[in-house]
């Protein structure tokens, strides 16, 4: 089992296998996005208070979920990289960070655009908004720290430590609306109840799964590039490059 994992996670094997997986992620992403757009704009109704502004939620909430999800991936991959010293785990963590930062920014901007007409303000220093902004800073700190080292091994270790320490922010973001009085509303989707109309929920889920597939495809594409850069002195990479040159 252990040997099998190591073999699969070897840069060379990953490079060859991932190429075949990417289309299986891109096709569902495009399909779900198209159906999701149709559901968000046509099928789902306007809200009784917010009117059509409710449709901002179909980007905002999935983007916010992704911002948390990707950070957890980075922290876990960083931990695996530190403990079991699997090269690929560090690579996945590194290439995920800019994608996570982009989703965090998307969540903040769409939230702001919704907040102005609904709440009456672009920004408020309440617990949910502030902790999500800190998440963006964590992503940026992770990216900067990784870039600050010349040696990729040192960079991997240092930034993995940062990612693991920063992961305490994740439950804070999630529970911020319960622990403190906040301007931001509580979660509409829980284990026991969904406090929104079913077509709104379906639209939200379609976009949310589309984002998951997009993330998967982007990580594989970026990781493949990173593998080539890091393994540039190995024989199999040279063979591929020469093969391409022919």
């Amino acid at each position: 089992m252990w040997k099998w994992i190591q073999a699969f996670a070897s840069p060379r094997n990953f490079y060859q296998t991932s190429e075949k997986i990417i289309p299986w992620l891109m096709v569902p992403f495009i399909g779900l996005s198209l159906i999701g757009l149709y559901w968000s704009f046509v099928v789902s109704p306007a809200d009784y208070q917010q009117g059509d502004s409710v449709r901002i939620m179909y980007v905002h909430v999935p983007a916010a979920w992704m911002s948390l999800f990707i950070y957890v991936v980075i922290a876990i991959a960083g931990g695996i990289g530190l403990i079991w010293q699997i090269k690929l785990a560090h690579i996945v963590a590194k290439v995920s960070a800019p994608i996570g930062a982009a989703f965090t920014l998307l969540a903040l901007v769409t939230g702001s655009v919704w907040g102005k007409p609904m709440w009456g303000t672009w920004w408020a220093w309440d617990a949910r908004l502030t902790s999500e902004l800190i998440l963006l800073f964590l992503y940026l700190a992770y990216i900067s720290l990784h870039n600050a080292f010349d040696n990729p091994k040192t960079a991997d270790k240092a930034s993995a430590i940062l990612a693991i320490v920063g992961s305490v922010n994740i439950p804070i973001i999630y529970y911020s609306v319960e622990w403190w009085n906040s301007l931001h509303q509580g979660s509409s989707i829980g284990v026991t109840k969904i406090s929104m109309q079913i077509d709104m929920f379906i639209a939200l889920m379609l976009v949310s799964f589309a984002f998951k597939f997009l993330y998967g495809a982007l990580v594989l594409m970026r990781a493949r590039d990173e593998v080539l850069v890091r393994e540039q002195n190995s024989r199999w990479v040279r063979e591929i490059i020469v093969g391409v040159g022919k």
């Binding site: 609904m118 009456g120 617990a127 305490v168 509580g186 406090s195």
Partner: protein
């Protein structure tokens, strides 16, 4: 301990340390990390005196009056009630019965607001469903 166990212990320590630090931080912050006070907390004297703070609650039905840009209304948490005076544009979601958060300070028992924000709850539904719910209630 093997080297791998050493590294596991290191990661575990890292997580434990981070959790401890954040727990201490929030204990020190206490209620300062709340975005607003509710009317009962203000009535109990927990809100700062002579300084600006935020008050949150529901707009009392039938209490809203407007004269040009100057509006007055009551805010309640169903236990205590405060009168608000505000000059400016109210957000779209502002209406009687709606949750709001207002910034300002208490002057002679009256809350003079400099900003009014409408709070939205976690319930999303089309207008027809909202109407049906309202009818069922009545």
């Amino acid at each position: 301990m093997t080297k791998r166990q050493n590294r596991m212990a290191f990661v575990a320590l890292l997580i434990a340390g981070a959790i401890l630090a954040v727990t201490l931080l929030f204990r020190a912050l206490g209620s300062n990390s709340n975005y607003f006070y509710d009317p009962t907390q203000v009535a109990q004297g927990k809100a700062p005196v002579g300084r600006s703070f935020r008050l949150g609650g529901l707009v009392v039905v039938g209490s809203f009056k407007r004269e040009d840009l100057k509006s007055t209304f009551d805010v309640t948490d169903n236990k205590n009630k405060f009168s608000i005076e505000y000059t400016g544009i109210l957000p779209d979601l502002f209406r009687e019965g709606q949750g709001i958060i207002t910034t300002g300070s208490l002057v002679n028992g009256k809350f003079i607001a400099t900003e009014v924000l409408a709070k939205h709850d976690e319930n999303y539904m089309p207008p027809e469903v909202a109407d049906a719910l309202k009818e069922a209630k009545e």
